[in-house]
């Protein structure tokens, strides 16, 4: 990968520029460029593959050091001594069987996450179907940082560490120092890929958790839906006397008026376009039967969200999407008061939904074209506050899908011995300094997703070059990847 922009890169980017940079170049010129590009057989980038990247955001800051736990006696004892009354029992941990190329250590999982274990060890005991790996001690960083640098503040640090909304935002922007314009890394990536890969029938950025920062682009926007489908104005099957129904008729009628004022006209057109898009998506959504995949989802909110997400993935051809991102949120992890029982309860809801989703993906034969990763505001303090844990920094996240070289703990799982001399701990209460940056994690996801060109990576992940040199990537050699969780040859550069 080099800095040099190829003719192909330029032509691929031209239609996006035509749609998105009218303030810089005249619309006519841009349209001409777009026409030329299309006439030249571009876009769409010549491929026919489809890919979906699913972000499962665990709002509240999950205590991930009670998800992935050291299992051998020595390391478990260090964990238990540090965590005291919030430590899991060693004999209740679910054993993970790492592949030989893993980090060689023994780990266990929280007892309520049996489905994660199966995805890690191999679906139905089939080691060829190891779908899940963990990234240990990952967090927001601007550049590699040591404990001394943190203490002395001699390097730029993510702003507002240990704060919910700021850290949530930074996981979604991947710009921990802040930016003049709030955009998410998936949104900036959609700015690059949407018009070259998709038919522009609907947004490629789909959210089941309301508006988020993750999918906000400069030119592209997100499409918000719930697990019953799009948020349409139609609601044909509703009671026609219902005030909402009447209100929707009034809104549609207003949008159909002819306006002489340009602002009113533009607003009406935009709203009408949005309504049409919602109805288009709802139409497709309703076209799938309930038994579209031979898998049963739990009858919970998160179960229904995953089921609807699977529907939208199956509908990619009908929606004209070769690239799609899906955002799913699941909160309730801010366990200050009590950790053990409430966390177990949340995991008991989440893990079966994750299992059903991945089984559905496999059932539809889409495992190589869907990748899911978890994210959270932050991890939590290793030290107990008297039954709960508080806001911290680095933590463990998982990534799963058919393109994953599963069964590995990647990054560096820290020594959890609690002492002032342990360089992993900063601030107070057992907050771990991340060893892997979110940029490295996201870069590898983006390589798989099909982002190409150093300038595009700079646009999407502006801090990446502080951690990783993209020019070293060889798709055949995972040791050259930012972290190394992808199988060889799952992407091109």
């Amino acid at each position: 990968m080099t800095n040099k922009q190829t003719r192909r890169d330029f032509l691929q980017g031209a239609p996006c520029a035509a749609l998105g940079s009218s303030a810089i170049m005249s619309t006519l010129l841009n349209l001409k460029m777009a026409n030329n590009a299309v006439a030249a057989g571009l876009p769409l980038d010549g491929g026919s593959d489809r890919k979906t990247l699913v972000c499962l955001f665990l709002h509240g800051g999950i205590d991930s050091y009670n998800i992935l736990v050291p299992r051998d006696d020595t390391r478990y004892q260090a964990y238990a001594d540090t965590r005291t009354d919030i430590a899991l029992q060693q004999n209740e941990l679910l054993a993970l069987e790492q592949v030989a190329s893993g980090d060689g250590q023994l780990y266990g999982l929280h007892p309520a996450t049996g489905s994660y274990r199966d995805l890690f060890n191999g679906i139905d005991g089939d080691q060829e179907k190891r779908r899940l790996s963990f990234i240990a001690n990952i967090g927001t960083l601007i550049q590699p940082t040591t404990k001394a640098q943190y203490d002395d503040e001699t390097v730029p640090l993510p702003r507002s560490l240990f704060s919910h909304s700021d850290q949530t935002e930074q996981w979604q922007t991947s710009i921990p120092q802040g930016d003049t314009r709030l955009t998410g890394w998936a949104g900036r990536m959609a700015d690059v890929l949407h018009c070259t890969h998709n038919q522009n029938l609907t947004s490629m950025s789909l959210s089941f958790a309301g508006n988020n920062v993750f999918q906000v682009g400069r030119q592209t926007s997100q499409f918000v839906m719930n697990n019953r489908g799009a948020l349409t104005f139609s609601q044909d099957d509703r009671d026609t006397d219902h005030p909402t129904f009447q209100k929707n008729i009034a809104v549609k009628s207003l949008m159909e008026q002819e306006y002489s004022n340009m602002m009113q006209k533009a607003f009406a057109e935009l709203t009408s376009k949005s309504i049409s898009e919602q109805e288009f998506v709802q139409d497709k959504f309703d076209s799938l039967e309930d038994n579209f995949a031979n898998v049963t989802f739990p009858n919970t909110g998160i179960g229904r969200d995953f089921e609807s997400a699977l529907k939208m993935i199956k509908l990619r051809p009908e929606l004209g999407l070769r690239r799609q991102t899906i955002f799913i949120g699941f909160g309730g992890w801010d366990h200050h008061a009590e950790l053990l029982a409430p966390q177990s309860d949340r995991l008991s809801q989440l893990a079966p939904a994750v299992e059903a989703f991945q089984k559905g993906i496999e059932e539809l034969g889409l495992e190589d074209s869907v990748m899911t990763f978890t994210a959270s505001d932050f991890a939590r303090t290793l030290r107990s506050n008297g039954g709960g844990s508080d806001h911290a920094w680095g933590g463990n996240q998982m990534v799963f899908g058919g393109a994953i070289d599963g069964g590995k703990i990647l990054g560096e799982f820290p020594d959890l011995t609690f002492s002032d001399s342990n360089p992993i701990y900063v601030s107070r209460g057992g907050r771990t300094l991340p060893g892997v940056s979110v940029d490295e994690f996201f870069a590898e996801l983006l390589l798989w997703f099909g982002l190409k060109g150093e300038s595009n990576f700079e646009q999407v992940l502006p801090n990446l070059s502080n951690f990783f040199d993209l020019s070293q990537v060889n798709p055949a050699d995972p040791s050259t990847f930012p972290i190394g969780f992808l199988k060889p040859n799952t992407f091109e550069v």
Partner: protein
């Protein structure tokens, strides 16, 4: 005549504001954040907290009034210290140190012997239970008192902002 006097008064107040701002600014430029503030002298002048929190935990106020008083005081300190970050005050102990002088200006806004602090230098409510400090965002710091039962996260907890 009246107008002239008012104008002079405004000018004078403006000058005072400008000089105090200059002082603060020069402190900010000269002193980077230090994790270890210099020990406060025993003869130190009265701090902002001594005045503002004078009625804290007094017999004439309630637990909620205490919390409101403390929340308002913290907001005022935040207005004075613009160059700050949640990592400096996201726990009870860190917030206490921040107010005692472990901040960008190395200025104490609270005296070590103030009744809001216990012997461990934790910020406590009127029932002597440490307050729970919860960083919701860079702008909003949630404060929780355990209330009369002295147990956090129970029904009688007092929480601000609501």
């Amino acid at each position: 005549m009246k107008k002239i006097l008012v104008s002079l008064l405004i000018l004078f107040l403006g000058f005072l504001l400008w000089t105090s701002f200059q002082k603060g600014d020069s402190k900010e430029k000269s002193a980077g954040f230090s994790p270890d503030p210099e020990p406060l002298s025993t003869a130190q002048a009265e701090t902002l907290g001594d005045r503002v929190l004078e009625r804290y935990a007094s017999s004439g106020s309630s637990g909620m009034e205490d919390l409101q008083l403390f929340e308002g005081y913290v907001q005022n300190v935040f207005l004075l210290i613009k160059n700050r970050d949640t990592r400096h005050y996201s726990t009870n102990e860190d917030l206490a140190l921040f107010l005692l002088g472990k901040n960008t200006y190395r200025t104490a806004y609270l005296s070590p012997g103030h009744p809001i602090l216990n012997e461990k230098q934790q910020l406590v409510d009127r029932w002597n239970t440490p307050l729970k400090v919860h960083a919701l965002s860079s702008k909003v710091l949630e404060l929780r008192s355990a209330g009369p039962d002295q147990k956090l996260f129970t029904e009688d907890d007092l929480v601000l902002p609501h």
